[in-house]
Amino acid sequence: MIEFNQVSKNYFSLTALKDITLTIPQGEVVGLLGPNGAGKTTFIKLVAGLISPSSGKITATNHPARWPSVGFKPERLVFPGDLVVSQYLEMIAGLCNVGRVQKDNVVLESLARVNLLAAANKQIKTLSKGMRQRLGLAQALIGDPDLLLLDEPSSGLDPAGQEEMQTYIEELRAAGKTILMSSHQLHEVTRVCTYLIILKDGRVLYRSPVAEALTLRPHVAIQVDRPLDGAKPLLQMVHPNIVVEGSEVILRDEAISMRRQILSILINQGYDIVKVEQRRITLAEIYSEAVQ
């Protein structure tokens, strides 16, 4: 849908993004991960058209218009504070060419979707942070844009608010929306995103469909009742791919087929088996490996 072709962005001597070539696929929820200053907001602003690349090209493919319609929830929750919530949303609806007749319904629907109907007649400056986050999402949804840009949608929300926000995004994913969101919360990305991009120092370190990434490196973990320091040499003699970490034995690749043998060694050594678990790589592991 959106293609980045060797895109770089410089702010004077600072390189915010460098030689980015990738595609934001249609119908996917793309999660942008990376440490602070990695270039996530710059990436989102480029897609929003607020800034232009210093070099390279960003194009919209398979789209009838020159650029898809965009709904944008910025990271900073600043809105025109003197306006009433419904007034603000009506204005956004007007800018999205929503007809006068449908405008009221569109505003009510978007407020209902983010559970903000009760605040429809409140001034924006009186809203709490959580309500502002929801207002941010509500305004981005108006006009049914082709692409939703959510810059840290759950930032600053309490656990209940985060849960709510993730549920909204899951509903949008189910409705087939294309979403580009940045986040610092790995569990949020694991839960709602279908595609993953990890940025650091303006470069793409990793990109993959989330489901594919999480099927990588299957392994078996055997947990025993106490630290395995004494048994470590014996276990590693069986296969070099056996990793001992504290009271856990991790079997990777061919070592997985040796789990019965390992279990019997552990039992013979007098360890009690607490848990045997089949695992996949976690997003936290992917992230820390990529970033380090």
């Binding site: 607020l50 709904g71 600043v78 025109p80 003197d82 956004i92 800018l95 060419n97 981005a140 840009l149």
Partner: protein, 276 residues
């Protein structure tokens, strides 16, 4: 497109008019009225009325443009801006809001100034809209170049620098050789009085050069650029436009259009880094 522009115009106008800045603009306009049209003093001339209220319109429109641009350059407007198919719509809305505010305040003062003011004939009233309208438009477009919203790199320095040079050359129009030569001679005399003879000689040489230089041509060009202002002032004092003077407001609108085109080009190609 028109609907989107009108929505944004309404939003910017309301936001600025009902803010502290709006109140300050209103107070400044009333102070201007009290100074130049004191109600107790009686009838000023029609010519003065047209020129003074026109000048107020230009000034207040300039300030209103700065205020609206400042409002438009805030981060809270990102979600609105990304909804527009073209950034030019945003800039047009800023310009229209500023013109609307400037015109409202100008009309307020124009109305107040008519209390015990001049009696305007219909023929005179009909000459006013092109005068005030074209000057307000030019003031708004010039002001927009002075704001962070539009400026890119050295654009405002170049624009206002060029304008300043053109104004200096214009003030010398007619006999620029003598005008510049006299200025350098004044400088030479000043240096010789404080015993800086080397600088005095330098200024003396510059005076001789100015007398022979091609400044006449440049000054004449500047004179042509500022012709619409002279033509409009002459028309006001003559009580009506001659056929050639009638073109002056149109020329000012053309200047405004060209400057707006430059502003739109700068605005559409610049990175928008709005303030919170």
């Amino acid at each position: 497109m028109i609907r989107r522009i009108l929505i944004l115009t309404g939003y910017f106008s309301k936001a600025v008019f009902f803010s502290l800045t709006g109140l300050i603009l209103l107070i400044l306009s009333l102070i201007y009225w009290a100074i130049f049209f004191p109600p107790g003093q009686g009838t000023p001339d029609v010519e003065n009325y047209i020129i003074l209220v026109g000048a107020l319109g230009a000034g207040v429109t300039f300030m209103a443009t700065l205020a609206v641009s400042s409002k438009a350059g805030r981060m809270e407007n990102y979600p609105m801006l990304v909804r527009l198919p073209s950034r030019v719509e945003y800039l047009v809305a800023v310009l229209l809001s500023a013109l609307l505010l400037g015109t409202i305040l100008q009309f307020l003062v124009a109305g107040l100034a008519l209390i015990r003011g001049p009696e305007l004939t219909m023929a005179r009233v009909l000459t006013i809209p092109p005068l005030w309208g074209s000057i307000n438009l030019l003031a708004a477009v010039l002001a927009i170049h002075a704001t962070d919203l539009v400026t890119a790199g050295w654009s405002r320095v170049i624009l206002f620098g060029t304008l300043a040079v053109a104004l200096i050359l214009n003030s010398a129009a007619g006999s620029p050789d003598i005008w510049f030569s006299d200025r350098f001679n004044d400088l030479s005399n000043l240096f010789s009085r404080v015993n800086l003879l080397w600088f005095s000689d330098l200024a003396g040489n510059a005076a001789a050069w100015a007398f022979e230089s091609p400044l006449t041509g440049l000054a004449n060009v500047a004179g042509i650029i500022f012709w619409p202002f002279r033509a409009m002032t002459d028309a006001v004092f003559a009580g009506g436009f001659t056929p050639s003077q009638a073109l002056a407001p149109a020329v000012l609108i053309l200047y405004g259009a060209i400057l707006f085109l430059v502003a739109a080009t700068l605005f559409t190609s610049k990175d928008l880094d709005f303030l919170e």
